[in-house]
Symmetry: D2
Subunit: 391 residues, 4 copies
C-alpha cells in the first residue's frame, strides 16, 4: 500500500517584504499536495538564505543564494528528492530567464503574470515550453474562482445566447499617491519600465481583466481603442486606462483599469451580455454569480451548491467548503495549483491529462497577455480610433 507522494516546489523570489510569494506559499499549502522544499528568495543571497531558514524552516542547504544556484543544485539531486517545479514570483523582468533555465533543466514552472516583458520574449518562451514538453502554468489567479468557471460553462452551454457586449473593470486605489518615490517596494518596480514592461496599470491588472473576459466568453479581441493616463505627475507608466474593445463575432466591450481610484480595493468585475441572458461577477464578492435571463427574475448562483456542480464540474471541483462558508482569493489561487499538480502528475507519468482535470492558464495565455499590453500601448499613442490585435 504505497501512496503517491507530494509534489515538490522550489520558489524564486518571495522573500522579506514580498507580497505575492507569500500568497503562493499559502495557496500551495492548502490542499496538502505540494511541499515547499527549496527556494532562492531574494536578490541578496544572505537575506534570501536567512529568510528560507528562519521563516520557512527550510534546511540551510536548500535555501539558496540565487536562482541559478538553486537550479544547478536541484537538478543534481536524485528524483524523489529534487524539486518538481519552480514557482516564479519575482518582478516581471526576471520571469523569462528563470523560466527558461528551469524548463531547460527539466523542471515544470508556475509563473506569475504578466508573463514576460514583451511579445518577443513571450514567443521565445512559448517555443521553449513546446520544445521541452514541460508543464508551464501562468498564474492568472482570478480565473481560478469557481464562479468564474461556472460563468465560462454557462457561456459555453449557450445559456447566454450570442454574446453582444462585455464590460470588464479592475479599479484599485493603492497608487493614488506617489508611493514609488517613498520606497514602497511593490510600487517601485511596478512603475519602472525596465523591470515592469511597457505598461503600468494595464500590465499589472489590465491583463487580468483581459484574461478574464477572454476566458469566460471564449471570444478573442480583434481591435482596441485605448486611452492611458499617468494621473500622478511624473510617472513613466500609466496608472489608469480606459479601452473600447472589439471582439470576434461582433461583440463589443469596454475594459477599464485604474490604480488611482479612491476607495477601490480589488474591484475586478465583469458583465457579459448575450441575446438570451447576461451574467455578472465581482471578485470582491466571488461566491456569487448573477444570471439574468430576459424576462425572468435575476438568479443568484452561489458556490458550493449541487446545482452549480451540475452545470460546471470544474466549479464543483474547485470548491472546498460548503455554500455559505465563503471562499476567497487563496482558494482561487489554490485551484491553479490544483491544475498544475494534475498536469505534473500526468506529464511525469507519461499519461494523458484526465478530462476532469482542473484547468490552469498556460504559455499561450501569456503570449496573449503580452499582445494585449502591446496593442493597448500602441493604441494609446495612436490618433487612429482602432488598432488591430495581432492574430
Amino acid at each position: 500500500m504505497a501512496g503517491k507522494r507530494k509534489i515538490r516546489m522550489g520558489m524564486v523570489g518571495g522573500g522579506y517584504g514580498a507580497f505575492i510569494g507569500e500568497v503562493h506559499r499559502k495557496a500551495a499549502g492548502i490542499d496538502g499536495e505540494i511541499e515547499l522544499v527549496a527556494g532562492a528568495f531574494d536578490v541578496d543571497p544572505a537575506k534570501g538564505k536567512e529568510f528560507g531558514v528562519k521563516e520557512l524552516y527550510l534546511p540551510a542547504e536548500r535555501s539558496y543564494g540565487s536562482w541559478k544556484e538553486m537550479i544547478e543544485a536541484e537538478k543534481k539531486l536524485p528524483e524523489g528528492e529534487r524539486i518538481d517545479f519552480v514557482t516564479i514570483v519575482t518582478p516581471n523582468f526576471v520571469h523569462f530567464p528563470v523560466a527558461k533555465a528551469a524548463l531547460e533543466a527539466g523542471f515544470h514552472v508556475m509563473c506569475e503574470k504578466p508573463m514576460v516583458l514583451d511579445v518577443a520574449e513571450a514567443k521565445k518562451l512559448q517555443k521553449i515550453v513546446n520544445k521541452t514538453g514541460k508543464v508551464f502554468a501562468l498564474n492568472h489567479n482570478y480565473t481560478g474562482y469557481p464562479m468564474v468557471k461556472l460563468a465560462k460553462d454557462m457561456v459555453k452551454n449557450n445559456e447566454l445566447g450570442n454574446i453582444m457586449k462585455i464590460i470588464v473593470q479592475y479599479p484599485q486605489a493603492w497608487l493614488i499617491r506617489p508611493i514609488e518615490r517613498e520606497g514602497q517596494q511593490q510600487a517601485t518596480w511596478r512603475l519602472d519600465p525596465k523591470r515592469s514592461g511597457a505598461a503600468g496599470c494595464i500590465g499589472d491588472i489590465g491583463t487580468h481583466a483581459e484574461n478574464l473576459a477572454e476566458y469566460i466568453t471564449g471570444l478573442r479581441l480583434t481591435e482596441i481603442c485605448a486611452d492611458l493616463t499617468a494621473f500622478v505627475k511624473g510617472r513613466p507608466l500609466d496608472d489608469d486606462g480606459n479601452c473600447l474593445l472589439h471582439f470576434e463575432k461582433g461583440a463589443k466591450g469596454i475594459l477599464h483599469a485604474s490604480q488611482i481610484s479612491a476607495g477601490e480595493e480589488n474591484n475586478l468585475a465583469i458583465w457579459v451580455y448575450g441575446d438570451k441572458a447576461s451574467i455578472e461577477w465581482h471578485q470582491e464578492d466571488p461566491n456569487k454569480l448573477f444570471l439574468k435571463k430576459v424576462g425572468n427574475p435575476v438568479e443568484v448562483w452561489t458556490r458550493g451548491n449541487e446545482y452549480v456542480g451540475k452545470k460546471s464540474p470544474l466549479a464543483a471541483k474547485g470548491t472546498r467548503t460548503p455554500g455559505g462558508h465563503p471562499e476567497g482569493f487563496l482558494e482561487a489561487f489554490a485551484n491553479n495549483y490544483m491544475g498544475l499538480v494534475e498536469r505534473i502528475r500526468a506529464c511525469d507519468a507519461g499519461k494523458k491529462l484526465p478530462a476532469t482535470a482542473m484547468d490552469v492558464p498556460d504559455v499561450n495565455d501569456g503570449v496573449r497577455g503580452m499582445q494585449f499590453i502591446d496593442t493597448v500601448v500602441k493604441s494609446a499613442k495612436s490618433k487612429a480610433k482602432w488598432v488591430k490585435f495581432p492574430k
Copy 2:
C-alpha cells in the same frame, strides 16, 4: 388671510398608452402645488378629448383636440383661470413647435428630454426662451434625486479633491428584441429617426448619463470617442453605445448606455474619482450615496438624515420622507416640478429667485444634450480617435 393659489398645468401628449405623461401627472400631484386644468393628450383629437374627460376628470371644454387649440384657447382665458405652464410629453420631434408656441403665447414650459431634434433647433429654442423671459425647465429627472444633489455639493465643496476619472452608465434591456416591429408604441417612435433624432439609445438615455456626469462634477466634456451599434439587425438607430470621454481640467472617463443588455432595468449609475475621495451612486438604489475617502472606511450616506442636510440644503429640501422610508423616481421628478413652481412664482411676481430655490435643468442643459448627441454620432462615424465637443 388670502392664501397663494396652486399653479395651473396644461399637458401636451400623455394620452392612452403613453408612459411618461402619466409619470408627469403623478409627480406634479405629489406636493399639492400644481393642478392639472387642461390638456391636449393625443394626435387624434377625439381620443385625446375622451382621455382628458374620462381618465383625468377634466371639463370637456379644457380637454382639447390639439395643442394649438389649447394654446389659443387658454391664452384667451383670464389670469387666475388660464394655465400657467405647458408640460410637453410628446415624442421628441413635437417638442420644438409646442415649446415655441407656448413660450410665445406667454406660458412657461416643462419639456421632456432630449429637448429637440438637433443642435440648430436647440439654439433656436434657447433664443426664444431668452427673448420671452419665460421659465423653461427640461426634465432631466435623474438630477432631481436628493443624493445626486448631495453628490454635486460634495464635489463643489472639494471633498473629492481634483476630479480625475468619471464612469457613468445607463444599461437597459427593453429593446433586446425588435419590439418596434411589433407595434410597441414606446419603441416605435424612439427608433424612428424622424421622430426621435439622430441617435437611439444615446439620445434616449445616453443624454441622461451625460447630463448626470456634468451636473455632479461641474466639468464639461471636451472630446469624445464613440462606438455605436445597432445590435438588433435592421435598426436605423443605435441600441447600444460605448464612449471614451475627455473633460475639462484633465479628467477622463467612460460613458456607456445600452438598451439590449439582458437583465438590466434602469441601471443608471455613476462613479466620480477625485484625488481625495470618490463617490458612487446608483439610480436603482437612489437613497444611498457612497463616499470613499482615501484610507478610510466607506461611508454610506442615506437620504433623510440631518447630516445630509448639513452638506446639501437642496438634498434636504428635495426630501419628503424620513431616512429608511424610501423615495424613488416619482419624488425625483417632483423635485424638478418643485424647481419649476418656484421659478414660475418668482417670475410671475417679478421677484428674484430665492437662493434656496430648488434647481432644475434648463434650456442650456438642453443645448448641451443636443451637442452631446451630435458629437457622439459624428465620432461614431469617424476613424479619428477624438471628436471635439463644441464650446
Copy 3:
C-alpha cells in the same frame, strides 16, 4: 361624455410640525383620484385654519377650527360638494371619537394606526363600522408595497409549502436619546400612555410587524412570549421589544422592534420559511423580493416586471413606474388610497367591489392590532412563558 369626479378628502390633524399628515396628502395626491377640499389641522383652531389656507391653498371657510366643526359643516353641504371621506392623522387617542363622528355623519374614513387606544374601543368601532356600512380603511401602509402583495400571493399559491417559521423585525434609532423631554413633538405624544396607549415601540411599529406577518402568511397568532424594555431611563412605555411567536398550524416565529437601535432607520423586514421555499423582503429596499427555493439559486423578483404581474395582479396594479425606476413609501401609501377610492366608489354607487380592486386594511385588522398590543403587554408582565392571543 360626462366623466367621473375626484373623491373629496377632509383631513383631521396634520398641521404645522406634523409628519404623517403631510405624507397622507402627498400619497393621496399621486393618482389624481382625490382632492383635499377641507380640513381641521390643529387642536389650536387659529393655527389650524391658517395652516389650511396658507399651506394648502384651501378656502378659509373649509379650513376648520376643529374636527367637530368640520363634520357639522360638511354634512350640511350638498352631495358633490361636501367631502366624501375623512382622513384621521392625529395622535392615537383622537382616532376613536373622530372616526365615530365621521362614520355616523355618513362619511367614509381613512384612519392612521394603531387604530384606537385599546381592545374595547376597537370593538366598539368595529360595531359602528358594521352598522353604518361606510368604508373604513386602516393605514397599515407597509402592506401597500407591491412586493408585499406578491409575497402574499406566493404564500397563497403554495409556492412556499407549509409555513414553518416567520421572522419579522422593525428596528429604528430615533428614540435612542430622551428627545421626548426636549419637546420633540412626535416623541412626546408617542411616549405618553394617555395619548398613545398601553405600548410605546410595540404599539407604534411592532403592530406594523405583526400586521405584515399575518398579511403575508394568512396565519394568525395564537400565543406570544414578550420581553419589553424601556432602555432610556424614565420612560413610561417600552422603547424596545422582543417576542417569541406561535401561529396557527404549528408555525413559530420571532418579532422584534426597537426605537433605540443605533443606525437603524426603518428597517422593517420579514423572512417566511416554508418547507418548499422561503421569501425575504426589506422595506428599505422594497422593490425586490427574494424567493429561495430548496436546492435552487436564489431568485430576485423586482417590481415592475411582467413576471410579477403574472403571479400577483395586485402587485402589478399597485405599480406606477417600470422596473428599475424605484418606488417607495409614498407609492405604498398611495396604494392604500387606491383601495379606499375603489371601495368608496363601489359603496356610493351601491355596487359590489370588483374582484380586481386593490386591497386595504380594515377595522378587523385594527381590532387584531389592538389585541396584539394587549397580548404583548400582558405577556411582558407575566412570568409564564406563553400568553394566549384572543380568538
Copy 4:
C-alpha cells in the same frame, strides 16, 4: 543559523466522507507552520489506515488504526519526531475520551465544538486541562474572522457605548428534509442524541451564535427563554430554535438558529446595539463590518486596510491578503491554528504567551457552550419564562 521547526499534528477522525477534518487539514496547511505527520482517521482501522496513506501521503506506520494506538505509539517517539498536538474532528461523543487521553499523554489538543456531551464532562475536561498544563484550543472557528476581532475591539474600546441589545442568528437549510434517514453521514450522527448530545440545531450551530455574541460583547448570558422545535417529524432533537436572552448589565437579545430554513446556507450574523453606535457582521460576507454611529453615515470597514489594524492588532494579524482580495472560512480557521501554534511554542519553551499572540477559544469557552445547551434545553421544557444561566 538554525531555524525553528514546524509543529506536528496528529488527527483523530476526518477520514472518507468526513467534512470538518478536511477543513482542518486545509486550514492548518495555509501558514506553513504545521505539518500533519500522523492520524487515526476512521473507526474502521483498515479504512482509516488506507485513507492516511492514499489520500494524505502519510507513511503507513503513522496512519493508525485507532486513536488509542496513535497516542500510545506517538508518545514513545522521540521529541522532535512525535506529534506535538492532536486535532479531534470526530462526532461529539468521542471528544472527551480522546482529549483526556491526549492531554494526559502530554499532547496539546485542538478540539471541534461542541466540546463534549454535557456540562459534567465539560467540567471534568476543564480540570484535566488545568492539571496537565497543556494547551487546549476549542474550534469555535467563526471568532477567527478578522472582522469579528475588530468588532470585539470596538466594543472593548467603548466605541459602541453601553450595550443594550444583541441579535444573533444562524439559519441553515440542509436538514429541511429527513436526510438522516437516507444515510447522510453528517446528518445521521448529529441527530442521534447519543453521539451528539442533548440538542440538535442548538448544539451544532446555536452554540456558535452564543459564542460569537459573548466573544464580541464580553457580556455573559444570565437567563434564557427558549422555544425549540423539530419541524421534521420524528426527529429526537431540535432542528430549529428561537431564544430570548438576558445578559449582564441589562443587555437583552435574541438568538435564533435553524437547520430547516429554505435557502439559507450558513447565515450566521450578529447585530450589537450600544447607546453610541451599533455594529453588524455577516459570516457570509465576512470581510466587512458595518459601524453605525448615532447621527452619522454608516461606515463599512473592510478587512486588510491600515485603519483596521489601528483599531485591532489581532484583526490585522489574522489577515493574509490585502483589502479586496476576499478571505473566508478557511482563513478564519487558520487563525485558530495560529493561536494554537503560538500557545504550543510558548508552552513548550516554558515562556509566557506574548501579548501580541492570536487568541483562540479554550476549555472555558467549551464549558460555557455546554452550559448554554443545557440551559436552552431546560428552558424549552419549562413553562416558566426564564431559566437562569449557571454562573
